[in-house]
């Protein structure tokens, strides 16, 4: 009967083969305290930070709500264009960390690095104790931003698809970091330069061009990228009609399009300079109309970066593609370009970046003068003039 079964014997589950199976539970039980420990302290850390220093909530470029602390004193930048923008706004001393690719201006290379823009080390970011991190949709991942927000670090993400949007985002960054006055001056000057350029190129028909990101395989830019928009401002039309951001082209397509100009960035995405002579030696390239005529424009690397320096690259490209529009007299040039650009040389503010009193206008003057002298008069290489 039942009484005999129950007295003096272990229940069936503890006997024989079942004992082996019960052993499986032991590791699970040992891990329980670990699991218990995981959640709580992070939540309390989050609660503490949100109580003490978050008076404002702004909406960033991707529509996220970001809590801005009262004093943004320690900034980490997760992209080279954001680092340049922060320096252009005079916030270089508040920047405590950037990526390994941030190389303009020189001072950015000396800041502690948190990794590559695509996969930075979250621990390295935490080690710098930032109270604001800037990211951009053009190179950073959503997962990185999510991970930082999960740990209670505010991240402002910019999202600029066109040149004007980029200038707006510069203003937004200035507002977030309490540099609104400098930001307003900078955006006004950048917009003025764009308007002046548009007026100068008013009568010229746009040049049909292809921007080459990579030669093997041939990659160009799509219609909705900021590079295509920058080319439009420079009086060129990217004839690659693709909605993808970095479409891979078949060479037949290029032969069919027969663009008037090819545009390269001067470092050619890190591979080293491409010159007209290189292209004129390449098997099928040398028979293209543009290459035969030497219509290859090499612009500064700023064309790859949506930051204030992009305007300079646009002006340089415009000069290259529409030399007639720029053959005006020196006096006309002085009148039409904003004062900040010419006045630096006249007033001796061609200072190095070691100069602590550098103003925004002076920074731009330094940058453009440095670039002009590096590339010779007119700042171009291999262009037909």
């Amino acid at each position: 009967m039942n009484a005999r079964r129950k007295r003096g014997k272990l229940p069936a589950i503890c006997q024989g083969r079942n004992r082996l199976r019960l052993l499986a539970l032991v590791p699970a039980l040992m891990l329980l305290p670990v699991v218990r420990a995981i959640g709580a302290p992070v939540q309390s850390a989050n609660a503490r930070s949100t109580q003490s220093d978050a008076p404002r909530v702004v909406v960033d470029g991707t529509g996220r709500r970001v809590k801005i602390p009262a004093r943004v004193g320690r900034i980490v930048s997760l992209a080279p264009n954001l680092t340049e923008t922060l320096y252009a706004l005079g916030l270089g001393d508040r920047l405590v960390g950037d990526t390994t690719y941030c190389d303009v201006p020189e001072d950015a290379k000396t800041k502690p690095h948190v990794g590559a823009p695509v996969n930075p080390s979250v621990e390295a970011i935490i080690a710098l104790r930032p109270n604001m991190v800037f990211a951009t949709t053009s190179i950073n991942r959503v997962e990185t931003v999510d991970a930082l927000e999960h740990l209670g670090i505010p991240v402002y993400t910019t999202n600029s698809q066109t040149v004007r949007e980029m200038i707006d985002s510069v203003g937004q960054i200035a507002d977030v970091t309490d540099a609104a006055a400098v930001g307003a001056a900078l955006t006004a000057s950048l917009n003025a330069r764009l308007d002046a350029l548009r007026k100068r190129l008013a009568g010229e028909p746009p040049v049909r061009a292809v921007f080459v990101v990579w030669l093997d395989p041939l990659q160009s830019v799509g219609q909705h990228t900021f590079i295509a928009d920058a080319m439009r401002w420079a009086g060129a039309e990217s004839v690659v009609t693709s909605n993808q951001n970095w479409p891979q082209l078949s060479f037949e397509e290029v032969v069919r399009l027969q663009p008037e100009y090819f545009v390269f960035a001067s470092s050619h995405s890190g591979e080293g300079a491409v010159t007209v002579e290189d292209l004129q030696k390449r098997p099928v390239w040398k028979d293209l109309r543009a290459v035969r005529d030497g219509h290859v424009a090499i612009v500064s690397d700023e064309i790859d970066r949506p930051d204030p320096g992009l305007i300079g690259a646009i002006e340089e490209l415009a000069r290259d593609l529409h030399p007639k529009a720029f053959k005006a007299s020196a006096k006309d040039r002085m009148r039409s370009l904003p004062a900040s650009r010419e006045s630096i040389c006249l007033t001796n503010r061609c200072a190095t970046l070691g100069d602590q009193e550098l103003t925004v206008a002076g920074w731009f003057g330094w940058y453009h003068n440095a670039f002009q002298s590096e590339n010779g008069a007119g700042g171009l290489r291999g262009a037909a003039r």
Binding site: L20, R21, V26, A37, I38, P41, G115, V142, W246
Partner: protein, 354 residues
């Protein structure tokens, strides 16, 4: 042939609970050491004393006694990542052992039946259609995995029950088709949001939990693992018999059809679970069961728990290397599992051949 089978069965029957407990204890010890090393290493400088202080104060609820960054790094970053690594490693290795038994093929790994491709396709579709919904990627990946499991199940049947050769072929076809679909989507879509997808496909343990209730999330995952892994473990002695031949096992009283179904569903569920939370981490499901087989023998009653622990150890070590080798850049875990696992495996292979 009959003598060989008899010897195999006789050799397996001498397994005792003490041996299992002993081996598991050794592996748990190795896992503990790996966890300690993983907690210690990282971009944020933390000494062992700092870690101990943070752990003790955190467990006792006195988190204000340590700097908040310490607690953030230990409890917010490293510990969840280690826990996720243990879970994913254990799931993949157990699933790998299960598939190797089910398909009677030493080259079977958790992805051979297309589960990871189905999960990846689900993840990509969720990135396209539901970009900023928290938890969407994990849920969609799991749904993709489940759909693939069901489809391959119906394709892989022969005479009403799962046939290993047919199942393998059906799985390979499904995997190829789904991978082609993924490649098509990745090359034709705008591309801005798919940067993360490339990392996901290589395996990435750094994504934060989709909810703020981190503890609840991990409890949920561990419960799923315990259910699926436990079910496979309960069929372990039957699997030993099936390995000697299905007809033989049938004659010895094993319900072969039911065992195959249980192993198929549970191993696929474990793979789907692992892939949904961390992407497709390769080689663990293939190499770890073989390594454990070489070390501890072919008995599934021992192989399954040791594979689980071995997989956990492998992923924790690989993730630690991925975080620290090229600091401050973080490599994806999948890049390290083959690099770290292959030399160990070669050593074991040479030892066995000798």
């Amino acid at each position: 042939m009959a003598i060989a089978i008899e010897n195999e069965i006789r050799g397996m029957r001498t397994l005792t609970a003490r041996r299992v407990a002993g081996v598991c204890a050794i592996l748990l010890g190795v896992l503990f050491v790996a966890v300690v090393i993983s907690l210690r290493l990282g971009a944020f400088p933390l000494s062992v004393r700092d870690i101990l202080a943070t752990l003790v104060n955190g467990l006792l609820g006195r988190s204000d006694r340590v700097p908040s960054e310490f607690a953030l790094v230990v409890f917010g970053l490293r510990l969840p990542r280690i826990a996720l690594g243990i879970l994913v490693g254990a799931s993949l290795a157990t699933a790998g052992a299960g598939f190797q038994a089910l398909l009677r093929n030493p080259l079977a790994d958790p992805y051979v039946l297309g589960v990871s491709s189905g999960a990846a396709l689900g993840a990509i579709l969720s990135i396209i259609f539901l970009p900023h919904v928290p938890g969407a990627i994990q849920a969609a990946a799991f749904v993709g995995a489940v759909i693939t499991i069901t489809a391959v199940f119906f394709l892989g049947r022969r005479g009403g029950q799962l046939d290993s050769a047919t199942l393998l072929l059906a799985g390979i076809v499904a995997a190829s088709f789904l991978s082609a679909g993924i490649m098509f989507l990745m090359t034709t879509l705008p591309g801005r949001d798919l940067r993360g997808m490339a990392f996901w496909l290589m395996g990435d343990l750094s994504s934060p939990p989709p909810t703020q209730n981190v503890r609840g999330w991990f409890v949920f995952l561990f419960v799923l693992f315990a259910i699926a892994g436990g079910a496979i473990y309960l069929t372990a002695s039957d699997l030993n018999l099936i390995l000697t031949g299905e007809k033989e096992a049938q004659h010895l009283g094993v319900n072969v059809r039911r065992v195959k179904l249980v192993v198929y569903v549970c191993a696929s569920a474990l793979t789907g679970l692992a892939v949904s939370v961390s992407g497709a981490i390769g080689y663990v499901g293939l190499l770890v069961p073989h390594a454990m087989r070489m070390l501890f023998g072919n008995d599934y009653r021992l192989l399954i728990p040791t594979s689980a622990l071995g997989g956990a150890i492998a992923i924790v070590i690989a993730d630690t290397l991925a975080r620290t080798v090229v600091a401050p850049t973080e490599l994806p875990v999948g890049a390290m599992t083959a690099l770290a696992g292959a030399p160990v495996f070669i050593y074991l292979l040479r030892r066995r051949v000798r």
